[in-house]
Symmetry: D2
Subunit: 382 residues, 4 copies
C-alpha cells in the first residue's frame, strides 16, 4: 500500500467521536490519497465506555488521560471531540507537542480564548482544522462553486436558520452524558455556539465577513435539574437566538436558531439572493440544492431542484452512481479527505483555527448584543 | 359596450352548470373580446332547483324542457351539462336548429354515438366544442407550447393517472343527484369516461394519436343501492381502469384511473419524457409545471418548478400579478375566451366534437380490451 | 331575489380596483347571503381609464371626483382602492356622510393618521373593514381555527417573510401608474407598509400583540427616475426591511420583507411553532397548509400537507369539489362575504379600522427602530 | 472482542463489489452482533484491478479463479457480485462446498435456472440471501411495518416505477466494464431483470403474490457497438418495460421501468393504496416516507412527510441523531446486519434464494407476455 500512515489520537467518544472515527475509517475506501489515517489511540475518562468505543471502531490503543495522549510519539494528529470547555487546553497542549490538531466546533468558549488557541497553533506551525462539517455536504460545496463562479452577481440577502425541537420538555435535565450542551459551564452558550456557529461558518465562507449585528436570545425553560448535582438549577444557556446582520458586501441577513421549533429535528437551511440568481439548501434533504437562475429563458424559469448525486458534483465521483444519495456522515469523510489532501498539497484545508475564530467573533457580538439590546460591531480578524 | 352579445342557453344546473356559468359571467371582465356571452336561459327538469340556480347566476330566463330551449330564437349557443346519456340527443337537436353547441365531456356514450354527433354537427356547420377544460390550465397550455417548440426531441414515454378516493365507502348509493357518475346507464362507463377521458384528451393533444392499448378494469364494490329504485343493484361501472398504450410516434404509455386511491382527491398527473427534456404536471398544484431540460448546464441541472403566474405565461397576463395563482374554475373561463376568440377569428378552438371523438375511440378500445384481455387497435379518425 | 341590494361606490381602478370588483361581482354566485352588492359607481380621475374599467366590470355609473361620490344618496358603501396617501381623507369624508367604509391596506400613512381615521369612523358608527385579504385564504383561516382550538399549546416562535424580486432593475422608475408603491410620498413606506403590513396583520390575528421590535431597512437602489418630474430623484422608500420581535405571549419572532429576493414573486410565508404543534403556510401554494402535530403516533409523525379543498375546510363548501383549488382572487370574495355576513348578523368582520391601526403601530415602531438602531416598544391599542 | 469472525470471500469487484465491501466493513461499527464479517478474500479475473480493489477495501487475500475461492477452507460465506450469467454456476458450486451464499440480484437468468439454484442451495442447507437491498431502506422497512400493522385495510392499488435516463445516447456501447447490463448474454434481460426486479421484490414483500400480468417492452436503440467484438450488433435487451398486474389479494397494479426517462437518475417509487391509508416512497429522497391516514382528523388530514431519521425508526437507532439522514449504501449495511442477526437467531433473513425465485417467475411472465401480447399467469412457488 503506497499511502503513508497518519496516526490519529482522538479525545472523546461521544456522538462526535463516532462521526470522526467513521470519517477516518472510510476515507481510504473512497478517496485516492497519499495519506492514510490510522486509528491509533482513543482517549476518554470512563474506561469501560472508552474500551467499548475503541473496540467498536478499531482504535488500536486507549488512554484515559489526554495529557498522556498528546505526548505520545506514535501520534501524528490529535483530534478533539470533547465538550467545548476543554478544547483550548487540549489543543494548546497538543500544539506545543508539535501535533497536528483537529478540533470539534465551536473552536472555543469565546473569542478571547480562541485568540489564544490561534496564537499557539500558529506559533507551533502545525496543521489544524475545525470540524464545521456542513461545508462538505456536496450540495453546500456546489453552492460555494456557483457563488465563486460569479453567477449570483451583487448579493442582497442571506438568511439562515437552524431549528430543532429536542429540548421542549421541561423534564430534560441539564448536563450529563449527551446533555452537556444544556450546561452553560461546559458549552459556553446554547444554540448560539452549537447551532448558529454552523450557520455563521457557512455564511462567512459563502458571503464574506459580517460587520454588525443585533440579536435577541431567550431561555424558555428557566430551571432544569442538573445531572451533576441532582438539584434544580438556573439554566444558563440560550434556548433560542435570532439576529439581524449586515455583511461587509452590503447584503442584509437574518439568522435564527432554536431547540423549540416543534416539528424540526435538525432543519439547517440557508438562502442567498443575488442580483442574478439565488440558492437555497436544507439539511433535511441535504442531497439537493435549490437554484434559481434569472438567466434562464423567461417562460420556463423556475427553482431547480438539483439532485446532487452526479459524478461532476463535488465529492460525488468518489461514491456511487447518479441518483443514489449519501448522508450526514459523509460530510466528515470529506473533511478528512480534504485535510489529507491539504497535507499532500501543502494547501491547508479550511476552516483552520483562524477561520473558525472569525465565527467566534460573530458569536461574541451576537451574545453581547442580545445582552445590551444594541447593534454591535463584529471584531474582525487581524 | 362594443362587444357583440352571444346568447347562451344552458342545459343542466349541476356541478358543471356552475363551472360553465362562472366561465360565461367572468370572461368579459378579464378578456378583451368581440363577443360577450349573455346568460340568456337555463334549462332543467326540477323547477325549484332550476329557479334557484338561475337566480344565483343571473340567467335571465328558464326552461324546463330542453326541446323548447333549442328552438328559441333568442339562443345562439346551446351548452350541454347533462349526464352523458343525453348529450347526443340534445346536441343533435340543437345542431339541427342551427345553434352552436358546447358539450360537457365525454362527448358521448361511445364512439358510435359520437360519430353520429360529429356527422350532424358538421352537417349543420355550427361552431362546437367539448369541455375538456384541463387543456386550458395555464401550466398545461405551457406544456403544449414547450412541446410544440420541439424542445423535447423524440418522445419515449407518456404516463398519466387520475386518482380519486371518494367512492371507497360501500354505503354510497349509485344514481341520484351528484351520483349519476356511478350509474352505468347514465354515465356509460365509470372512471374511463369520467377521468381517463381527461387524461386521453390531454395526451392526444400533447403527444398525438394512440395506436393500440391493453387494459384492465375492476369494480371493487359490486353492488350498491340504486337511488332511483331504492334497491341494491349490480354496479355496472368500472371503479378503476389501467391501460398500457403505444402512441403512433413510437412512445410507450401507461394510463391509470381509480376512485379508490385513498389520499388523492383529484390527482390528475401527466409526465412526458423526451430525448432532450421532460415535463410533469399535477392537478393538485395546477399552477406549477415541472420541467427538466437536459440542455441546461450539467452541474446545475434539475427539475424546475415553474410557478406559472407570470405575464408571459398562457392566459396569465389577463389575471393578476406574478406569484398570485389562479385555480380550477379559470380553466373554464379560458375555454370560453378561446371559443369566443375562435368565433372572432374564424379559427375554431379545440377540442371540437371531432377532436373529442378521438378520445371516445380510445375509451372504446380500452373498455373492449379490458373485456377481451387482448391488445386492441384504436379506431382512428377518418 | 330575496337578497337586499347594497350599493357600492369604489374609488380607484387599479390592481385593487379589479380584485375588489371581482369580489363584489362573484360573492352572490357562491355565497347565500341576505345582502347582495350592487356595483353602483366607480370613481377615478382619468375619465378614459375609468370608463373602460367601469364597462369591463359592469359598474353602473362613474364619478371623477370622490367628493361627489361620497355624497351620493344611492351609495351605501365607499370602497377605497387609491394610493395610501389619500386613504384618510376619503375615509373620513365618507364616514362623515354616514357611509360604510372599506379601505385598502395599509390603513394609513402612519399610526397618527390612522388614529384620526379610527376616531372618525367610530364616531360615525359606520361599518368598516380593511382589506387584509390573506386572512381569508382558506388555509390561513384553517390555521386560525387550529390555533384557536388550542392544539399548539404555548407558542415559542413566529416567523414571517414576504419576498419579491420585481424592483431589482435600477431602470425601473418611481411613481406613475402601477409604480406609486416606489414613491415614498404616495406610499408612505416601501416594503414595510406594502408587504410587512400583511405579515403583521396575520401575525396579530394568529398570535396576539407584539410588544417590542428591533429593525433594519435598506434602500438598495438609491436613485430612480421619478415619473412625475422625469428627473432622477432620491428613493425614499425601504427596499427591504427585517425585524426581530417579541410578542406579548412570550414568543420570539423574525419578520422580513424585500423586493430584491431573486426567484420569489410573492412568497409570503409564515410559520408558528407551539409546544405541541406547528403550522406553515406559503402564498405560492396558498391552497395548502403544512401542519405538524406532536400528538400523532411517533413512528408515522411528520409534516402533513393539507390540500385545503374539502367541504369542511373554511369557505371551501361554497366552491367546487375536493381536490380543486381556488386562487388569490377568492380571498377578496371571502372578505366581501364576511363583511356582508357581518352586516346580517351585526357582528363586524375583521380587520376593522381599529384592528388595522394596530398594524400601523407595529410599522411605526419598525421604521423608528430602523432609524434609531434601538429596540422600540410598540404602541398598543387603547 | 466477543464477536465471532465470519470469513467472507467475494467474487466480483465492480459497483456491487464496492457496496458489499462497504457493508461488511461498516456493520460492526454500528450494530451489536455476535458475528463479525472478516474481509478474507476477493476474487476477480483482472489481477491488477483485483489487487487495487482488495487494497482499497482491506480484503486480506485474493484469488483469480472463483473455483479456487469456493474450495478454500478459510471461507465461510461466498458473496457473488458478478454479472447475472454466472450467478448460478458460482452459487451452486459454493453451496456444494457447504458455503453460505449471498448473491446479487436478480437471482438468475430466468426461473428455470433459479429453480436449480434453489434446489441446490436448499439441498446443501446453507444460509443464503439475495441482495434486494431496497427492502432495508429504513423508510421501506417502515412501510412494511405499517402494512403489517393492518393500518391500510383492504388493498386496492399498487404502483411502482423505476426510471433512469443513462442509456438515451445511441453512442453508448453494449458490454464491457460497467456496461454488461446492456448485453443480453450477460444480463439476461434489460430493465426487467435490472430494475423491475427490485420493484417486484418489494411488491411481493409488501403486498403478496402476483397472479397475472400483461406487459410491453421496447428497445429504443436497436443497434449498439459491442465492446467485445468492436462491431455494431443488435441490442437484445429491453430498454423499457411496463406491465399491468393483478395481485392475489385482489389489488390492481401498474409497473414500469425504463432507462429513457430524461431527468430521472434512479427514480424508484412505489405507492400502495388501501381502504384506510396509503403509502408512497421515492428512492430520490429515500430517507422520507409519505403516509396518508384516513383515520386522522378530517380538517387536518393530509399526506405526512415522515423524515425517517428517529431512533424508533427501523435501523435508525444505530446511526446518528434525529434529522440526520443516511443514504443508499446503508441499505447494504442493514442487509449484512440482518443476515448476521439471522445466523445468530437461526431465523433466516429474507429474501432467500427461494424468495428471490418468486421474482424470477414474475419476470418470466412479464417477458413472455411482452412477447405474446397476452395476459400471462405467473408461476407460483411450490
Amino acid at each position: 500500500m503506497a499511502s503513508k500512515p497518519l496516526n490519529v489520537g482522538i479525545v472523546g467518544y461521544g456522538f462526535m467521536g463516532r462521526t470522526h472515527a467513521n470519517g477516518f475509517r472510510k476515507v481510504s475506501n473512497f478517496f485516492d490519497l497519499e495519506y492514510r489515517p490510522v486509528l491509533r489511540a482513543a482517549c476518554g475518562r470512563d474506561e469501560a465506555k472508552l474500551k467499548a468505543y475503541a473496540e467498536k471502531w478499531g482504535w488500536e490503543t486507549t488512554e484515559t488521560d489526554w495529557r498522556a495522549l498528546v505526548k505520545r510519539k506514535d501520534i501524528d494528529v490529535v483530534d478533539i471531540c470533547t465538550p467545548n470547555d476543554s478544547h483550548a487546553e487540549i489543543a494548546i497542549a497538543a500544539a506545543r507537542e508539535g501535533k497536528m490538531v483537529l478540533c470539534e466546533k465551536p473552536l472555543s468558549m469565546d473569542g478571547a480564548e480562541g485568540e489564544k488557541m490561534v496564537a499557539e497553533i500558529e506559533k507551533a506551525g502545525v496543521a489544524n482544522m475545525v470540524w464545521y462539517n456542513y461545508r462538505r455536504a456536496p450540495a453546500v460545496t456546489l453552492a460555494k462553486q456557483i457563488i465563486d463562479s460569479g453567477k449570483l452577481g451583487k448579493i442582497f440577502h442571506y438568511r439562515a436558520k437552524f431549528l430543532q425541537d429536542w429540548t421542549i420538555s421541561a423534564d430534560l435535565p441539564q448536563g450529563g452524558a449527551g446533555l452537556w450542551r444544556l450546561d452553560a459551564k461546559a458549552a459556553g452558550s446554547g444554540v448560539t455556539g452549537d447551532l448558529l456557529a454552523h450557520c455563521i461558518d457557512t455564511a462567512l465562507w459563502l458571503n464574506g465577513s459580517i460587520s454588525t449585528v443585533t440579536a435577541m436570545t431567550e431561555t424558555f425553560v428557566k430551571q432544569r435539574t442538573h445531572t451533576a448535582t441532582g438539584k434544580v438549577e438556573e439554566v444558563g444557556i440560550d434556548d433560542a437566538c435570532a439576529f439581524l446582520a449586515r455583511f461587509s458586501n452590503g447584503s442584509l441577513a437574518t439568522f435564527e436558531s432554536t431547540r423549540y421549533a416543534r416539528g424540526h429535528k435538525a432543519l439547517y437551511t440557508f438562502e442567498i439572493n443575488g442580483e442574478n440568481a439565488s440558492i437555497f439548501w436544507d439539511l433535511h434533504d441535504l442531497h439537493r440544492l435549490q437554484f434559481f437562475d434569472y438567466a434562464d429563458e423567461s417562460r420556463t424559469r423556475g427553482w431547480k431542484s438539483i439532485h446532487v448525486t452526479d459524478g461532476d458534483h463535488p465529492y460525488m465521483g468518489n461514491w456511487w452512481v447518479p441518483g443514489l444519495q449519501i448522508g450526514y456522515e459523509h460530510t466528515f469523510v470529506h473533511q478528512v479527505a480534504d485535510f489529507l489532501k491539504g497535507l499532500e498539497t501543502k494547501t491547508p484545508a479550511g476552516p483552520t483555527f483562524r477561520d473558525a475564530l472569525e465565527t467566534q467573533y460573530v458569536c461574541d457580538a451576537v451574545l453581547s448584543s442580545a445582552s445590551t439590546g444594541s447593534w454591535t460591531k463584529v471584531k474582525q480578524l487581524a
